[in-house]
Symmetry: C2
Subunit: 344 residues, 2 copies
């Protein structure tokens, strides 16, 4: 049982799989920033990324092409190279005795894989089998605010509309947004190659594969993952996911129906005491969270908590969070920190 | 009674009040494009705009500073200079015998002022008293899709999230979005002066004045105007309005609860036959309306009509429409065309 034996010792030998990506890069930053106990750091990637150099805590590291040998003697793998890569190396990583914290969606809905937001369901970590899944960015941001409210009063239904940044599609999508925006400003026709349409001064419904129920994969991730994390498998939940021309922070407009009315004052009190959240709420000056407030920041900003005028049992709120940080890399590092803490 | 006597004759003497603004400019374009019967065209504006020249159908016209004399012998005033200006000149315009089609929110909720979307409630025009109000942009786009459905089956509740372009705050806001975006791309700090925050790669909850119920004015306009136009004064309705870094088209994510289930097939059939709408819906290729599809276009694009998985009585759809055109100038011109038609 991994959960009984990990980690055998600190500091850890860590492999970062997908080290050249937006999330991989942020993981490297956070390992240094948070003084994570690292004995050895291996940067792994595809053959395309192999050879790219990265300075980490003053040492030059080079990305190596991932192979079975990459995981020998490694304690912890932080993976953010997509589902196919995670699936391919899963058994080899675990067979080498390493625990994988995986940013992809590959294993999130598997019954014996904990899907963890440290502030929300740390207890789920206790029986992991060597793989711990990091939830989808939109799910993490939402559940941080939803879970504390659900603890106080039962939720009947959730309706969410998202405003998702380019970073969710990776570093190349961020670069493309900047390039195409420059093209539009210079009067040229933007030609997209990374995202399916130009995001320059434009937006579109999330482009993940469409499911037979008319929802895209991103929307169903949000629905299913929130249900799993909050242990509410039948929670009525609808999500409308939209990609907007913002670089690295997601926003969400949330409408929550409770079984009974829930006072906005109480909700604000609860959210202001909940870990991982910061309240930005000034009704008088109409000042609420914006992507610019949270880019590069750890906390998810919540505000404009209000009574829905269309239903006495509904509250509405608005949130913004850094997609790369709390929406991915930070949450993964916090899971690793929780693993260490459990075995101190 | 204006409605009995207007217009006395065609072509008309027309004054465009607020001729230098984004909507005013589009009104001038549409009057020419649609061969509106114009005998004389007067461009009116503030002292700041006075003297600005505009070529209209090959003739050079100059914006004059508005005064009481501006409306002498005018048949029709197309006003888009803001509520204060419309309020100031209302009686003088009507006293001069002219009808005013007003783009501001000044008179929209007055009992004897028809609030008209020609495709939705043309009958409301019949008893106007010299002032006809043009609805808010978000209201027009939404009601075009909502009204045909409400004719078939009673609606219980509407939940909307908007994705509103800079143009809703005027030509200067569009210019600022471009300028600040350029600044960000060049590594400079964007300094906003028109909008309350930089919209460059950023977004924020709509900045119109906050009401005591926690909704901003823009949101309450959408709620109250939709209720008036659809003659459903108690319709439960909540709107979440957000300004996004798009130039001139608004998008809306709409969740409609009916009293009973409403099939998506029937809804699509109805919307595809409804005037003013174009369906852009390709589930297989995940292709739905985008702001880029509708910028500068007359039709409002609707798509991704789907069954809400969280409530059997709810349908969801997504729409995009040009804010300056159908959201303002085109709707005003269509009202004028309807006035002419009624007296042919």
């Amino acid at each position: 049982m991994f959960s009984q034996t990990f980690p055998k010792k600190t500091p850890l030998k860590i492999a970062v799989l997908g080290a050249s990506g937006a999330v991989g890069q942020e993981i490297l930053t956070l390992l240094a920033e948070r003084s994570f106990p690292v004995e050895e750091l291996r940067l792994l990637g595809s053959s395309r990324s192999a050879g790219i150099k990265h300075i980490w805590k003053g040492s030059e590291l080079e990305i190596q092409e991932v192979s079975a040998e990459s995981f020998e003697n490694v304690d912890l793998v932080l993976a953010s190279a997509g589902g196919a890569v995670s699936r391919r190396w899963r058994r080899i990583i675990n067979a080498a005795g390493a625990v994988m914290i995986d940013n992809s969606s590959a294993f999130r809905m598997e019954g014996d894989v904990p899907l963890v937001i440290p502030e929300v369901n740390p207890q789920a970590l206790s029986d992991h089998q060597g793989i711990i899944a990091n939830p989808n960015c939109t799910t993490i941001l939402l559940a941080l605010a939803l879970a504390p409210l659900a603890k106080i009063a039962p939720i009947r239904r959730v309706v969410v509309s998202t405003y998702q940044s380019a970073s969710g599609a990776g570093a190349k999508a961020m670069e493309e947004l900047k390039e195409l925006t420059k093209d539009v400003l210079e009067g040229a026709t933007p030609v997209n190659t990374v995202l399916p349409y130009s995001l320059a001064f434009n937006l579109f419904l999330h482009n993940s594969p469409m499911q037979s129920n008319g929802y895209c994969e991103e929307e169903m991730k949000m629905v299913n993952e929130t249900r799993k994390i909050m242990q509410m498998p039948d929670l009525p939940f609808t999500a409308n996911c939209v990609r907007v021309p913002v670089l690295r922070a997601h926003s969400e407009a949330v409408n929550v129906e409770f079984v009974e009315p829930f006072s906005t004052q109480e909700a604000k009190k609860i959210l202001s005491r909940s870990p991982g959240l910061a309240i930005i709420e000034d009704f008088e000056n109409n000042r609420f969270p914006m992507p610019n407030d949270v880019a590069g920041k750890d906390l998810v900003a919540v505000g404009r908590i209000r009574q829905d005028i269309s239903n006495p049992n509904c509250l509405e709120f608005w949130l913004c969070g850094d997609q790369i940080r709390k929406g991915a890399a930070l949450n993964a590092i916090q899971i690793a920190e929780l693993l260490l803490k459990a075995h101190e």
